[in-house]
């Protein structure tokens, strides 16, 4: 019988009060808990159907309103973010414990349904939060929900034997719930969200073990916060609430850089798609990551021969789908065709610039006239094809690309045609984005770093327009003058540019276009040794 709302709510309220009494019993009361859960199950409230949803929704409503009503007592507006009204989390903690106990004591013969209940409970919580945020708008308070999730992360993450084998499914259920609550969808939950996603009871577990199956979920969550920040980060001046979230994100990135650098290495491509080009230091953190077992030679070592480094001929692991943007814009077919036939005068090259532009309407929203992920995808995809061709042509014993293969070999293939067409046809903005896509590959010693470092230096040397040389310098330079960290590949490329006389760097007029620029060049080149 479909219970009417008021009657159902009263019933749930009584059940909740009874649960509270059980929780208040001194000492451990597993037997009482298990008995209570059994009763709930026998009353049909835990089938995972619509009634279950209503049951958990009622409990959420009861516990949240109890928590928020405790806030009314204290008075006066808040003066600073650090000053918060005390809240009572008693009801929230009791509700969290009920869910944990249900998952723990649910009769094992129901095996699979034990865990299928968790995503349903989380889905109820997600919908409730979205609705609450939608209705309350600026008076929405995330703290009760934050506490609810913290309880579950600490309890479920406590490696209780019940969950030993299924811990990964628990983590994924939370990852999906957090993705549904991402800042773009519930901006009022952003701070609580970032703290939950980076919590020591969640993020490390998602990134450790399980054969890295948790990595795509963490990548998606990081992209969620980058996508939210992206429009705000296009401007240098950030409003305090954005700056606070930005700084918090930097802290999370530093923990990842220190503890899980391989995660940042393998997903750098996706992250560069959503970090605005102006956000140089945040991008540098990601591009500076290198595998923990790798030792990087000091870039300023005199006569450093990067060609002879063992790692320089190894391809980096890239877990993002490099050619997806090309496929989405239906360019991949034409590109592959062009690279295969290398048809002189084919329209592919002449039409390329147009294909990289966004439709006017989208350009306004994206803050640029170009489709940045598409440029990133084109540059890396074409470069990877060229590297494959090079390695196919190089005898296996001499795999390090430059030591045995003459530099001229780099020039074979259509990659250079494409890159030279782009650098000549694109306007200043387009060229900047193209050069950024190349510079984003200057990371730790690997064959992408090596190849794209060569490409940048070659374009500098071969270009007959000083504006292009200036822009190449600017793209490298703006990444070096920001606070550390600086990617290894960026440093070695810049040092090569300013040291190798064949680039004639210091004779270029733009190195002396203003006294402070001249001083800046000298100080950066000094710091590069």
């Amino acid at each position: 019988v479909e219970p009417d709302a008021a009657c159902f709510r009263d019933q749930v309220s009584m059940l909740f009060a009874e649960w509270y009494r059980i929780c208040e019993l001194p000492g451990t009361n597993d037997a009482a808990c298990a008995h209570y859960i059994l009763q709930l199950q026998q009353s049909g409230l835990l089938k995972g159907d619509d009634i279950s949803d209503r049951f958990f929704r009622c409990l959420t409503e009861l516990s949240v309103s109890h928590c928020l009503s405790s806030e009314v007592i204290s008075s006066g507006p808040l003066q600073s973010p650090q000053q918060v009204h005390p809240l009572s989390f008693l009801a929230i903690d009791i509700y969290a414990k009920l869910v944990f106990s249900i998952l723990k004591f649910y009769p094992v013969d129901q095996g699979s349904s034990k865990l299928s209940l968790l995503p349903k409970v989380l889905a109820v919580s997600v919908r409730f939060i979205q609705k609450d945020a939608e209705e309350r708008k600026v008076s929405f308070n995330a703290r009760p929900y934050f506490r609810l999730f913290i309880n579950w992360l600490l309890d479920l993450g406590s490696m209780d034997p019940v969950f030993d084998g299924a811990n990964f499914q628990v983590l994924i259920a939370f990852a999906n719930a957090f993705h549904a609550l991402q800042p773009l969808k519930v901006p009022g939950f952003s701070y609580a969200w970032l703290e939950l996603v980076s919590h020591r009871s969640f993020m490390p577990k998602l990134l450790t073990g399980n054969a890295q199956k948790g990595w795509p979920y963490m990548q998606r969550l990081l992209v969620d916060v980058f996508q939210f920040l992206e429009p705000f980060l296009r401007n240098a001046e950030l409003e305090e609430p954005v700056h606070f979230l930005y700084k918090g994100t930097l802290r999370v990135l530093l923990v990842l850089l220190h503890d899980y650098p391989e995660f940042l290495c393998d997903y750098h491509f996706s992250f560069c798609d959503v970090i605005p080009p102006s956000c140089i230091q945040m991008r540098n953190i990601i591009l500076s990551a290198f595998p923990r077992n790798m030792r990087l030679p000091d870039p300023s070592t005199p006569n450093l021969k990067i060609d002879l480094l063992a790692e320089i001929s190894q391809p980096p692991r890239i877990l993002s789908e490099v050619d997806a943007a090309l496929k989405a814009k239906l360019i991949k077919g034409d590109l592959d065709e062009y690279q295969k036939t290398r048809q002189q005068g084919s329209s592919f090259l002449t039409e390329l610039k147009q294909k990289l532009l966004l439709p006017p309407g989208d350009a306004a929203r994206a803050g640029t006239r170009y489709n940045v992920p598409l440029i990133n995808s084109l540059v890396l995809y074409v470069g990877m094809q060229a590297i494959q061709q090079l390695q196919a042509r190089t005898p296996p014993h001499a795999q390090s690309m430059a030591s045995s293969v003459p530099l001229a070999a780099f020039l074979v293939g259509t990659a250079l045609d494409i890159f030279q067409t782009l650098i000549m046809d694109l306007d200043t903005e387009g060229r900047y984005l193209f050069l950024n896509a190349v510079a984003n590959q200057l990371r730790y010693p690997n064959n992408h770093t090596h190849y794209f470092s060569f490409i940048l230096l070659y374009l500098f040397a071969e270009s007959n327009q000083e504006i292009i040389q200036e822009q190449i310098t600017r793209v490298l330079f703006e990444r070096l003058i920001v606070n550390r960290p600086h990617p290894w590949g960026l440093l070695v490329t810049f040092i090569e540019l300013i040291k190798n006389p064949s680039y004639n760097f210091w004779s270029r007029s733009f190195t002396r276009c203003a006294p402070e620029i001249e001083k800046l060049f000298e100080s950066v080149s000094r710091s590069c040794g």
């Binding site: 308070n141 969808k185 703290e195 998606r220 989208d362 992920p373």
Partner: protein
Amino acid sequence: DLGTIGDNLGGSSANSGGMRDQSYSMQMLEAAYYKLPHPKDSERAKSYIPRHPAVTPPSYPQGQAPIVNNPAFWERLGADNYGTDTLFFAFYYQQNTYQQYLAAKELKKQSWRYHRKYSTWFQRHEEPKVTTDEYEQGSYIYFDFHTSDEMQRGWCQRIKPDFMFEYNYLE
């Protein structure tokens, strides 16, 4: 959903429904900025659940006396010579509790040192004969549980002459 990002139009997967324009987001973010989660929101009272609760008559206190979570109580024990055994008891038998942490802190204050490999506390009995960057060697008192003869089962302190305390085992 786990694949590429799509266009740089402020997010693709999030585009479906519920997409917010920037000013709305800023407004909500600003409001949330004044209701940040507080550090206490993540802290939970450590409800100590004894692993092997000693069954006692109901007239006995069933919960732990709050004083065991008061650092001053442990400092008093630390100051009192006979309190050391109590510190060791709390460390070894009240594991994963705040009082274990407080007891460990007091033991450290009395220059007891926890050896991670032997899970045992050592204290120098005299100046070590050898000290290098990696270890020190000499005779130490250590706190141990001895079962040598049934009459004497229990905790005791022994001297370990010529023991090498490698620093990488020092907790």
